[in-house]
Point group: C2
């Protein structure tokens, strides 16, 4: 049986290292009380040690067999499960999230690791390409050239506050980077250090079981920004994965761009996820839509990147019916513990600011808080002219607050969507009679967002091949990528060409015999020859 | 018959606009004389006009059928050919490059356009993915999600000095961006404005013939950096393609990162392309290798991004034999006209600086110049300690100059390669007896370069599926990309997910019937169902 008592120490390679630079405790947001133990944060020295270990491990780890890397990812998943209830209880205590949600998130975290294991086994993510020699080509012969993608290098991952498991130490960024063949150095989020220590130890255990070099994974604590800054600036770090605030993401982007060797930053930052209610749908099912909308808005205290914070609809009695129904459901919605005291304060402040803007009217609020750090749902309404006149009405409020915009017509809805900042998602509620109108909206939505939904709600992100959890700036720092789903592995790869190589010096993915039975592009034809 | 007389005007959409901000002429570097006519450079106003037209064209152009876009690319190629000798003569006059080279480059330019036409017709570059609904999944049903890649947006392309056709107005960046569905605004290189005008008019003619919106292409002139800066900063530009100097590329990267909405910059900047001579190969064929090396070094006056400017070998009599043979061939090599007076001055200055560094000895030089703007080949030698002691010995000298490093052993060669900046290529000269040693070098080379060659030379870049003309910073701004070959299209794409869409609202690439017969990933399986 594993010892799950927490030490407060960072994990640097195979070692546990208690940091001496800063110290902090987790807070249970549901009680407002501090939790044991005291965690020790590191500094530049620990970042350097972790990154040097990652660099030392890189060449051997990136060339582990697909089978070995897949087994490693699966072993992490089983080691996380083996943490048992200790993990669930600690994550609940550190996040204020309900037990069912945390159990589901553990399942998702394990599912992601297993999905990347399957992807690595299948192997076609290396995009193998073979253009064989054409010795008789005129005027010049063509030489044999082959290409595969290799791992980019050690990746710095920042744990997110709102997914203590699925977007933290062993979350999507870590899973996709490890799958690509990149060692990972995690800066754990200070809101859930105990959860992080437990999961980090599970990864350590998996490394030992699989006989991999210790530098494949390290995890650092730090109460301020020193550790994170040192991580982004370290010359051995070749990419960054981050989910968090816009301010945090922009700071990382800037630091990465100012390095002597700039590196890519994949920051998922802010999104208000517009929902567009089309006229026929609104007429047919305003009350039903209102109930589902409020359900999505208040899910998890609204603490999702895909929370629907903006709603656009044509003004009129159908929208009034929607608002009336939404107000009724929201008014009865329970307050919910938010992730941290800071997040709760920021939410409350954001709601107060929004309520005070000219032209904004509060439609409803949820039930009043009855404990510490609770957020209360909030629904506001304004019109298109007021929204166009004040850019702050489009600011993200992280939590269960939404703004409804009364628009004169669908053309105005489109014009407004055209001016929104880049978003993770856009949702269209439509009936068959709305089809022609929706068609006029799609070019705008495609340009402005990463995922378009019809007749659903954006919370609840599937993890699969087709998912895009990304979008134009400032939803993310890099519209070319997704942080959820198998496509996320491509963030951590780069192409290398091998010209005129003897077969024995080629990597397996490019050898004539195709020993891994990969899908490859040979003479521009897909096949598994 | 087309009128090939030059107007000196920019091309903004379907218009010819004579710029009033700056004026300049091309110079024939072979004579040092100015050429007619006077070209008029634009300013912010013209950049804005071109980018607004590109934006207006974007939604319709990106959704043209694959067939329509392929035909357009082929039409550009045939319109370039239809320019006939006027294009060849003007490009020769503006570049000082021999007629045969320019004719070859025209063929390459047309070949690139035709290759991207074939890629677009085949269509799998959109990476279509379909995860169908699973209504019976427990605990929650899965909704239908599909994904394709769409064009990123209008692209700003900077013409390169050293490929007046293949990396300029209708070169690789333009061809791959147009193939992806991105309108293009070119800043023509001031060294070959007449060539640019001719090719730009060929693209204009192709747009008219194909009935495409005029904003799909514009071409601007500018004598200073104002036009380029305005282009990178324009909010409608969503990516930049550039081939040129490190200073130029770094300036573009900085400007792009400082935009309110940062955008990707694909800058191919500088590389000294190390060549590693392995002991058995050096022993067996030093003289033969020396001849081929000097041939690659002096090709095209050394004005290739892939020019081999650094050579590493184990010190000893075999290397002496190599150097003696190389000196003999180089000493008889003719001087060659360089592309511009500035490039020639920079080359001459770089050679003089290198010659003056401590520990560097000149081995040979080519025949002396006998006309204006001629570069004279130059070969230097130093040792590993001197190279390690002075970072400037690794600076690129654009032209036919190379530095040979005497290394104590192969381990020292590897240590030295490990410390090099990122490179486009690395070349290994080896015999079978060197195989085990080469194996120890490959991990380093994979990390440091985009293309590894065995027993060839890096000049002469094939254009195909497997080619990587890219590499870690500062060879390029983005190691995840290549600017040559079909993979270059991926620079200008981003993923979009469509959740729960009725079939009729899906793009063709994602419709159930697969009307374009694309390779797609459905339930994680490749197929053309």
């Amino acid at each position: 049986m594993t010892d799950h008592s927490l030490s407060g120490a960072m994990l640097i390679g195979a070692q546990a290292v208690y940091g001496a630079q800063t110290s902090f405790r987790a807070i249970n947001p549901a009680t407002g009380l501090e939790l044991e133990p005291v965690f020790g944060g590191g500094g530049k020295g620990e970042v350097d040690r972790a990154c040097n270990l990652a660099w030392a491990a890189f060449d051997s780890y990136r060339e582990t067999s697909n089978e070995a890397r897949a087994t490693f990812l699966e072993t992490i998943a089983s080691e996380i499960l083996a943490l048992g209830d200790a993990l669930i209880e600690r994550a609940v205590a550190e996040s204020g999230l309900p037990r069912g949600r945390i159990e589901g998130e553990r399942g998702r975290t394990m599912g992601q690791l297993q999905m990347f294991a399957a992807l690595v086994r299948e192997g076609s993510f290396v995009d193998a390409r073979i253009d064989p020699a054409l010795p008789d080509r005129k005027p010049l012969p063509r030489v044999d050239i082959r290409q595969r993608h290799i791992a980019l290098g050690p990746v710095g991952v920042f744990g997110a506050s709102n997914f203590p498991l699925a977007f933290s130490v062993a979350g999507g960024d870590t899973a996709s980077a490890l799958a690509a063949g990149c060692p990972v150095v995690v800066k754990a989020h200070s809101a859930h250090p105990g959860t992080s220590e437990l999961v980090g130890r599970a990864i350590q255990a998996a490394i030992a079981k699989c006989g991999l070099p210790e530098g494949v994974f390290s995890m650092l604590f730090g109460a301020g920004t020193d550790v994170g800054t040192a991580l982004v600036e370290h010359p051995h770090i070749k990419a960054i994965g981050f989910t968090g605030s816009r301010m945090g993401g922009l700071a990382l982007m800037k630091a990465a761009a100012l390095r002597p060797e700039p590196i890519p930053v994949y920051a998922e930052m802010s999104s208000i996820n517009p929902v567009l209610l089309m006229p026929a749908a609104l007429k047919a099912r305003a009350v039903h839509m209102a109930r589902d909308f409020v359900g999505s808005l208040t899910l998890g205290a609204g603490q999702f990147c895909t929370n629907p914070g903006l709603l656009l609809a044509v003004d009129g009695p159908d929208l009034d019916a929607f608002l009336e129904a939404a107000a009724s459901v929201l008014s009865a919605s329970a307050p919910a513990t938010m992730l941290t005291p800071n997040i709760c304060r920021a939410y409350t402040g954001g709601v107060a600011r929004l309520a005070a803007y000219a032209g904004v009217k509060q439609v409803a609020q949820g039930l009043a808080p009855n404990g510490p750090n609770q957020g209360q749902g909030a629904l506001f309404v304004t019109d298109a002219a007021a929204f166009a006149a004040n850019a702050h009405l489009g600011d993200e409020i992280f939590g269960a607050a939404a703004l409804v915009i009364r628009c004169p017509d669908v053309a105005a809805m489109r014009a407004l969507a055209e001016k929104l900042e880049g978003q993770l998602t856009a949702t269209v509620q439509m009936d068959a009679a709305d089809t022609a109108l929706v068609r006029t909206l799609l070019p705008t939505l495609e340009r402005r967002v990463g995922r378009i939904l019809i007749n659903g709600y954006p919370t609840g992100v599937e993890v699969n091949d087709a998912m895009v959890h990304g979008g134009p700036f400032p939803a993310t720092s890099d519209a070319r990528s997704t942080s959820v789903g198998t496509l996320a592995i491509q963030r951590f790869l780069r192409p290398v060409a091998y010209q005129n190589f003897p077969d024995e010096l080629l990597p397996a993915a490019l050898q004539d015999a195709n020993p891994s039975h990969l899908w490859r592009r040979r003479n521009s034809q897909f096949g598994r020859d």
